[in-house]
Every structure is written in C-alpha cells, then in structure tokens.
Symmetry: C2
Subunit: 143 residues, 2 copies
C-alpha cells in the first residue's frame, strides 16, 4: 500500500476529516462534536475510536473536572493541517460561485486570508503537477 493509500485507511471517510477539522477549531468533547456535525452517536463513537486507534486523536481526562474524557489532536493529527487547508482551498475555489459568500481561513495576526498553498522545489521554485514525478528510491514496486 503506497504513501497515498495508507493514510486513506485512517481518514478515508467523510466524517473523520470533519472531526479533525472541528478538533482544530478547539472542540474536545463527544457532545461538542456531535452537536457540531450532527451525526449519529454510534457513528461518532466508532470514528473517534478509529482516530484514537490510528494515533490521530488522544483521549485525556476532562480538564473541567467532569468525569468524562476529552479528545485532543496528537502530533500526527496536527500534521493533517496542510491537508485540511488544501481541501478547504480546493472547495473554496471550485465549489462556490464567484462572490458567493463563504468562510475564510485568515491569519490571526493580520486578519488577512492565508495564501494559497504552493508546492516548491528544494531551490524554492513554485512547481506544478507536471513538473514532478513519483520515483522509487531503490528498486521498489510502486505500490
């Protein structure tokens, strides 16, 4: 299973990424996720378990003294931020009419929208899909 397919096992369903996005927004509790996403409790339960099993979320005792636990992003989970940004930017560009109002990801310091993600070569040139290729480091199957 290749470097693209493997992650999809962990976050390859609709809900998991939305849960992670909400976690970036500061949500931590079962009920918060359920209210925000409006999904069935058994599904949320299964997804949270799966995300924890994959090391994307971690469970910690509730910070407010209540007897429950909270779900927080691990380092691995926080590593999903560029992917979420890429997804959001693609959505903004192609799924909204021009001038259709929608939320924006802004830099807190300035309040300005963030830049579009750019892929760069080692030397800093901005490159596109056609400038790249997938290469096996030694003699390896591609998948």
């Amino acid at each position: 299973m290749c470097g693209v397919a493997r992650p999809l096992d962990a976050i390859g369903d609709w809900w998991s990424l939305l849960i992670v996005r909400d976690a970036f927004d500061g949500l931590r509790r079962f009920g918060e996720f359920q209210k925000s996403l409006g999904l069935a409790k058994n599904i949320l339960s299964a997804r949270l378990r799966n995300l924890v099993a994959h090391g994307i979320l971690d469970t910690v005792p509730a910070s407010d003294g209540s007897p429950y636990q909270e779900y927080v992003l691990t380092t691995k989970g926080r590593g999903l931020f560029p992917l979420l940004v890429a997804l959001r930017q693609w959505g903004e560009e192609f799924f909204f009419e021009r001038e259709e109002p929608h939320v924006q990801l802004v830099d807190k310091a300035t309040g300005l929208p963030v830049r579009r993600l750019e892929l760069r070569a080692q030397d800093g040139r901005v490159i596109g899909a056609e400038d790249t290729e997938v290469r096996a480091p030694s003699s390896m199957a591609r998948r």
Copy 2:
C-alpha cells in the same frame, strides 16, 4: 455545508482520490485504472461516473483510434494536486518507519524531493494552525 464538507461529497471516498492520483500519473483508460487499483469494475464504473458528474474528470474519445473513451482531469481535477501532495506528505511522515524505503515525489528538473507544503500568510510568513482562524466574511452561519 461548509467549505470543507462540500468537497468531501465529491472525493470523500477512498477510491476517488486514488483514481485522481492515477490520473495525475497519466492513466486515462478504464482498464488502466482497474489494473492499477485492483478494484471491482462496477465500483470503478460508479466512481468514474461520479467524478465526471462532479466535473473532476472529463470523458474524451480515445486518442489511439480505439472505439472507447478516456478519462482526463479537468481544471477542477488538476486543482486537487496540492491536496494529493498534502496527503502523500502526511502519509510519508507518519505512516512509514524512519528509513523505511518508500516512493518520493521529486522535482523532475533536479531529481530532488519537493519541499514540504507550507502555509503562508499574505506577507510570506510561514504560519501554523494555531496562527489561523476561520472567519465569516459578513454575518454568516459557520456551516
């Protein structure tokens, strides 16, 4: 439905993204996708139809004179490249053991691996999740 959820409707399943990735690798024909991904033909058929319906792929007459059609990425589909890179980089970072050999995305011009995606503010500063927030442009519901 927000800017993150909307796209998931189009590419929110395991296979669609892998099909798009293969399309970036130059695959165009039904049989090529099937051989590469090893998925059932009915599923591939349904996924291709869905991707075409969402404007991510387009069907064109076969270039080699055979009576079949080929599937090519649209502009919208090519817009998924940063997302695929983000997914790949996340996978490489967290799903492989250090030094475990795996394929790499390299800059064709130099043969060197591409840089890690970085999110930047308008002024060029590299920023992280904690430096950003989601903001509604006018008075809008977040979802």
